[in-house]
């Protein structure tokens, strides 16, 4: 009898791909589809900064090629956005008005930029770098621009700042203590970071906040802070951490807090739906808290567990242990982020 199972995975990152390839390894006949709103195969997000700097090209970002999906008969639907889940009819509604049916669903939609409430009125003035789609046309803009303003202070912000200063650009960073979300930098940590960034020659502003961003008619912006610092910038970037990308899943009956709530088997509150990676929120008993943004290796482990359990097994994901993370010379203890690029370089 032909296998009529259709496993659909939303998201084409480490969790989604781990789930898809685990499913294929254990179920050679089922139809497997990955749906991603991005227009590129599975790629390395940590390398995006180098890509923007022009140091590597698009091919160097690839983690998997289209051929690998073809060989494993995994259908990859790129550039397609899921707008709604209908668990009753086990179907997904896509933005282009197509309906895709599934027998089992894995949500691995990852995370998106965190826009601070104080910056909401200026969202149109801000540029984000959280995924490949954001970089369309940005490489040339960066090359053509000279003055940059950066809000935030998460991991990517510092890499981005260093990239720009290495390129000889003029950069102003307004350091937010809450940017390394969900951790809050203490005054000592903040001072240490400011000191350690001094060699970059960037202007670092701390203990200040955004007042206004005013676009100029001829392009560019005037950024004014609460303390009256007024800076002209060709591009204004915001790096304030990530939040789970789960808006499309709201209202369908899934339990959602910051992310989609899952148990240690990656099961959600609805039958036939699993979630894994940065979009999933899971309780970690080792550190007695819920976590969402869980980093690449943890995402892969969760994707694998989701794939196996979807096929009827009963695996539990191992709680991620704490690691020290180096943020510009300041040690921060997290269970999720790892400087993969630094590991690669080592």
């Amino acid at each position: 009898m032909p296998n009529s199972d259709h496993y659909v995975i939303i998201g084409n990152g480490p969790a989604g791909n781990a789930a898809a390839f685990t499913l294929r390894e254990n179920d050679p006949d089922a139809a497997i589809t990955i749906i991603s709103h991005e227009n590129i195969c599975f790629y390395s997000k940590p390398r995006l900064v180098k890509y923007l700097a022009g140091k590597v090209d698009e091919d160097a970002l690839a983690v998997k090629t289209m051929d690998e999906y073809r060989r494993r008969h995994i259908r990859l639907r790129l550039g397609q956005t899921v707008e709604r889940i209908d668990p009753d009819s086990q179907s997904l509604h896509l933005a282009h008005m197509e309906t895709v049916h599934y027998t089992d669903l894995v949500i691995a939609s990852g995370a998106r930029e965190r826009l601070l409430p104080s910056m909401k009125p200026y969202a149109d003035c801000l540029t984000f770098v959280t995924e490949f789609n954001d970089t369309t046309g940005l490489r040339k803009k960066i090359a053509d621009s000279t003055r940059f303003f950066i809000f935030g202070g998460d991991l990517v912000a510092f890499k981005f700042l260093k990239m720009l200063t290495d390129m000889g650009k003029q950069v102003t960073l307004l350091l937010y203590p809450k940017a390394f979300w969900p951790h809050r930098l203490t005054k000592d940590m903040q001072d240490a970071i400011v000191k350690n960034l001094a060699p970059t020659n960037a202007d670092i502003l701390a203990d200040d906040d955004l007042d206004t961003i005013v676009p100029e008619d001829r392009g560019g912006y005037w950024v004014t802070t609460k303390h009256g610092v007024r800076t002209q910038a060709d591009l204004v970037f915001s790096f304030n951490g990530l939040i789970p990308d789960v808006d499309f899943a709201r209202g369908c009956g899934l339990e959602i807090d910051h992310g989609i709530l899952v148990d240690e088997t990656m099961r959600t509150s609805l039958d036939n739906i699993f979630a894994c990676g940065s979009c999933a929120q899971i309780y970690n008993p080792d550190i007695n808290t819920y976590t969402t943004s869980i980093g690449w290796p943890n995402a892969q482990a969760q994707g694998k567990v989701a794939g196996l359990n979807l096929l009827g097994e009963h695996h539990k994901v191992r709680p991620a242990g704490r690691k020290y993370f180096d943020l510009e010379g300041v040690k921060i203890k997290t269970v999720w982020w790892e400087d993969l690029e630094k590991d690669e370089e080592a």
């Binding site: 709604r84 509604h93 409430p117 104080s118 909401k120 807090d257 910051h258 709530l261 309780y283 819920y290």
Partner: protein
């Protein structure tokens, strides 16, 4: 639109056409009590259906679009009595139901902001309109001057009864006056709308607590009927160790203390700042327990009192918070944190004062039939948060014994009680809800009292159907972004705890937001006798809203059921517009070669029984 001029040319052509249609169209009006029409209105106009007071939302938004702010205000007042108040603090069930916010359709219309706009922008010469009935000679005592009591008194006065309101506190308004902070609801505006009710001849007796100064039994002797709308005043307790420590407040008492102080004064929350001549911030690090409007009001008020760290602690998820997205945003903007999936285990103290609070993590479990969600503590997950104040804003319950020991038979499904001539309304009978539900409850009770006193049903609801020669909006309006509410800066918010945060729309913003409304009160129909089944309408429809059907079943209650669609032409009996999916873009209307699509304006209206 005017601001950036994006659609000005198209808009101009559309408006010219509109005028032309109006000049040449002949209005045909019918009134219906057919269940199919009631069913159609309920399904097609989701915002109105979701509003407990059944406010004619598309109707007043259209009036704003035509800059008839006074008419828009009256359309509101006819249903919800206090548009200026509700435009600021309503819980907005209409916006949750708005079709513009449905998946694929974008973001819901700012219905409440528009309600406020008509109150703000109406002429200073605006006259309120009330259709008064002749005096009946009957009198009704209303216990409580909160939203339910005021609504009941308003309607009873209109129906010709003498209404006397007994209020325990010094000022009228109940939760509106004492529970909601002034930075969300200015008191001069509140008093204006309360005075609009009192001007109907409603008598107000403040500082008169029924149950203390006067008994319910006395009221039943002195009046022909009594409406008890005493609200919910008994705070729900945390039920944990340490709740009796100093600096543990219940949410309502905290808000009462904040609201008791006037502009320029620091509220007196506790002895510390009383003794320091009000200058000292009474709280620094505050844990607020709860996820409703009162909890957020407490947290935002604490920030204005000078607290440096304020966080909300909720037992369930962020999605379960009983507040709208605007409130969530404002709380985040003001620096208030939210810790979800936690519940308090005990409050820690030193020298009789709060020093911290211990929480346990929770997980969500579904249980019971039908399944309902509950939070379950996770064993061994306790952790401690240092703080100097705890505000328990878990809501309130009605305190029946506070009013009377003999009052029985309270039933949330009926206004009558176990005592003859005594009725109940609002949160007192339903438990804690929201302002719009309380107003709707008060109005429902007034009708029940009127029936009791006069033995006559004096009003009926009908569907008014009016032929409409135009769609009233071009397709380009579907792509307008929601207009954000204007707010004051953070330093202004902190300058005085009474400074209103939201400052309302200017006329251009109100116009732009009004253009976003789909006008779901316009019903689109295809005349099957003239349709040539060319499918042109299906081809241009941006949604799956024009359907080939083989039957349209009728439900047991007489309303239409869901269309039975078919793809087989030999079974198609009609091409039909599904008004539940239709976004009123007007594309089908414009393209139909046979001019067989009609537009009908549908409204729920109240008529006198003898009309």
């Amino acid at each position: 639109m005017k601001k950036n001029g994006l659609y000005s040319k198209e808009e101009k052509i559309f408006q010219d056409k509109n005028k032309l249609y109006r000049a040449h169209s002949v209005k045909q009006i019918a009134y219906s009590t057919d269940p199919r029409d009631f069913g159609q209105v309920a399904k097609s106009i989701p915002c109105q259906e979701a509003c407990p007071a059944k406010t004619n939302i598309p109707g007043y938004i259209r009036c704003i679009n035509e800059k008839r702010y006074g008419r828009a205000y009256e359309l509101n007042r006819g249903a919800n009595i206090m548009p200026g108040v509700l435009g600021r603090i309503c819980s907005r069930p209409c916006e949750t139901a708005c079709r513009h916010g449905a998946p694929d359709n974008g973001v819901s219309v700012g219905i409440c902001h528009l309600k406020r706009a008509c109150a703000d922008l109406k002429s200073p010469m605006h006259r309120i309109i009330e259709g008064l009935y002749a005096p009946t000679g009957k009198s009704v005592a209303v216990v409580g001057s909160g939203p339910a009591g005021l609504a009941a008194a308003h309607d009873l006065a209109i129906l010709g009864h003498r209404a006397v309101v007994f209020e325990t506190m010094e000022k009228p308004g109940g939760m509106l006056m004492y529970g909601i902070p002034e930075f969300r609801l200015p008191r001069d505006l509140l008093m204006t709308e309360i005075n609009n009710i009192l001007r109907l001849g409603v008598e107000l007796k403040t500082s008169q607590a029924v149950g203390t100064h006067i008994t319910l039994e006395t009221l039943t002797e002195e009046f022909d009927a009594v409406v008890v709308a005493a609200g919910c005043t008994k705070p729900r307790l945390l039920g944990v160790e340490g709740e009796d420590l100093e600096n543990v407040y219940n949410g309502l008492d905290f808000m009462k203390a904040v609201n008791a102080s006037n502009r320029g004064q620091t509220p007196i929350i506790n002895e510390t700042n009383r003794q320091s001549n009000r200058g000292l911030s009474p709280i620094k690090n505050v844990a607020v327990i709860g996820g409703g409007f009162t909890a957020v009001d407490c947290a935002r008020s604490a920030i204005r009192l000078g607290a440096e760290e304020v966080a909300l602690y909720i037992r369930k998820t962020m999605d379960d918070m009983r507040i709208d997205e605007t409130e969530k945003h404002e709380a985040r903007f003001e620096g208030i944190g939210v810790e979800s999936l936690v519940q308090p285990a005990r409050i820690l103290g030193e020298n009789g004062r709060v020093s911290g609070i211990a929480f346990v993590r929770t997980r969500i479990e579904k249980t019971g039939t039908p399944p309902f969600k509950k939070s379950v503590p996770i064993a061994g997950s306790e952790f401690v948060v240092p703080c100097d104040s705890v505000i328990a804003a878990l809501g309130q319950a009605p305190d029946v014994h506070d009013v009377s020991d003999v009052l029985t038979g309270l039933d949330k499904d009926t206004p009558a009680t176990g005592m003859k001539g005594v009725f109940a309304a609002g949160d007192f009978v339903t438990g804690s809800t929201d302002v719009i539900s309380a107003i709707a409850g008060g109005r429902r009770t007034a009708l029940a009292v009127d029936l009791y006193l006069t033995a006559m049903e004096r009003k009926k609801t009908v569907v008014r159907l009016e032929s409409h020669a135009t769609t009233d909006r071009p397709r380009s309006y579907d792509f307008i972004d929601r207009v954000p509410m204007n707010t004051i800066a953070m330093d202004q918010r902190l300058a005085d705890h009474t400074n209103e945060v939201e400052t309302g729309f200017d006329p251009d913003q109100a116009l732009e937001e009004s253009q976003r409304c789909y006008l779901c009160n316009l019903k689109y129909e295809i005349d099957p006798l003239r349709c040539i089944y060319c499918s042109a309408c299906i081809d241009v429809a941006p949604k799956d809203c024009i359907k080939m059907v083989e039957t349209i079943p009728v439900n047991a209650d007489g309303t239409y059921g869901r269309y039975a669609e078919t793809g087989q032409w030999d079974k198609v009996v009609s091409i039909t517009i599904d008004n539940e999916a239709c976004i009123r873009c007007g594309q089908c209307y414009a393209v139909c070669p046979m001019d067989c699509i009609s537009v009908t304006k549908t409204e729920l209206i109240q008529m006198d029984m003898d009309e």
